[in-house]
Symmetry: C2
Subunit: 311 residues, 2 copies
């Protein structure tokens, strides 16, 4: 392969009860990236559209992830050019930086003839992610890379569990056009929580995983609760309660903050329900006067993938 | 049915990461109870073997659970006698009181022609359990009643998720003959835990549930960790570390405190491995000079059940 264009999907992390451990991959939203073999050695970012991002390899999420792959498998005897075409807005809370990181790791690996598996690429992707979020987290890079739902069972070593998405599950994501820094969303968290809340939360994590594994949509819905993080963070998202309430009243299985926000997601059974919920959420937010965009997406079952390639 | 004899199995609660929410039913250990229709109205406990327990209905776990069923469905026009034959030692940490409570609720319901489902009987069983443990918990009554693994997703209303046990899974339970009161085991707990530990714990809960649902024994093993409760409680069980270490070194998937202790359990893949692990745990504990008994058990997939009945 001398050139390839890939799709790096957006993702929803946390899913209420699964703070820092559960994520899901979205089919309808994602970045495109191009990777090209060239004669002049070295790694270069040659084009960025859709966002203002640094071209320096060591300051760019995709650059760092790409370099991390090369550090692991060795520099090739050709150079590589990367084009980044952002479609996921930075700071929206649906894994924009993770898409860049996972996409870059995957793209480099593909050009090199796939020396590493997708799971093995997660460490490199996490290094890229760390440039944006300050720490090596896998809760967005894993679903973006692998597709479906992912559970980070633990770090050290990274243990990612893939959970197949029930096939009638759809996501709605409403992105309010406000700025909410991940650092601010982190700052409201408390270092300690009550044992009682923790037990409630891990009961719901167990319920969500069991619901996904057995395609029990009602159980998925009952488990999409968050007694730990949402109460602390929802104040950062204007009209969160109204939005969540609109989603639930329209028939969504559950709703909550996507990642660190400000996007708000809902999960629905079936495309018709997702359309109904998207309409209800739009109506609720139109009244606030805050600009937003909204997406309906199937769950992506494949993760980062090649769209076109030149042999 | 005018008379029935039933089996009420022992169970392991918590399973490390699943404190207060996960439990599993054991096939090899359990109480027997007899329920008999008699002319003289009223509920009476007429015989108790294997333990010294009160005969007064309102002071006996089985009596309270039985009465709770009658309170829910109405007093019948006949009387009921109960015999309790305890095989599970009180205070062993494998659901002795829960077996009495679930068995009693099931037995009364059966004599009455099954007006309630097994799941509907859990509330009555929890009322019985509360006499012994001080609070209405379902983490042992649910697996005892329903069999397999159970997850208490939440209370209010009680939401119990049944998870089928992988068919090669076996449990080993070593019961040190020491007294450890549940109240003392509760007293060492901290009301708050770090968010970091909570995240680790719910990552493992997700992993354990996913492992059970997909019969992934290695994942089950990696998930059988407890960073929250075990560090606080293990000091109450003499030579816990040595026992756990012996289990793990022998090839067990995981090991930990059964319920509030003092029993220590291990989960193993296959009966041969379970026998090997039981031998290793026995050897380790023989050196301590503390008396113990040890059981190997398949996972019970049925829960409380009738052994014999007279029409």
């Amino acid at each position: 392969m001398t050139e390839l264009k890939l799709f790096a999907p957006a993702s929803i992390a946390n899913l209420n009860c699964g703070f820092d451990v559960i994520g899901v991959c979205l089919q309808a939203i994602g970045d495109e990236m191009i990777f090209r073999k060239v004669a002049e050695k070295g790694l270069r970012i040659t084009k960025i559209t859709g966002a203002t991002l640094p071209f320096e390899i060591d300051k760019n999420v995709a650059g760092v992830a790409a370099q991390a792959v090369l550090d692991e498998v060795g520099e090739p005897d050709f150079g590589i050019e990367i084009e980044i075409h952002k479609k996921i807005r930075a700071g929206s809370g649906i894994g924009s930086s993770s898409a860049s990181a996972s996409g870059a790791a995957f793209g480099i690996n593909a050009l090199l003839g796939y020396p590493l598996s997708k799971k093995e690429l997660l460490n490199a992707a996490m290094k890229g992610e760390a440039i944006a979020s300050g720490c090596e987290h896998a809760d967005n890079v894993a679903p973006c890379m692998l597709g479906n739902f992912t559970l980070i069972r633990g770090y050290g070593p990274l243990d990612v569990v893939e959970i197949q998405a029930p096939n009638e599950l759809f996501a709605v994501v409403l992105h309010p056009q406000i700025e909410l820094k991940t650092a601010d969303a982190r700052a409201v968290l408390e270092p300690n929580i009550s044992l009682k809340s923790a037990i409630t939360q891990w009961g719901n994590v167990g319920g969500l995983v069991a619901g996904l594994c057995t395609q029990d949509y009602a159980l998925i819905g009952r488990s999409l609760q968050d007694v730990v993080i949402e109460p602390l963070r929802k104040g950062l998202i204007p009209f969160f309660d109204e939005l969540k309430s609109a989603a639930l009243h329209s028939g969504a299985l559950g709703a909550g903050i996507s990642g660190a926000g400000p996007s708000v997601f809902a999960l629905c059974k079936g495309i018709s329900q997702a359309e109904k919920t998207a309409f209800a959420m739009s109506q609720a937010y139109l009244e606030t006067g805050i600009a937003f965009d909204i997406h309906i997406s199937a769950i992506d079952t494949e993760g980062v993938r090649i769209l076109e390639s030149i042999a």
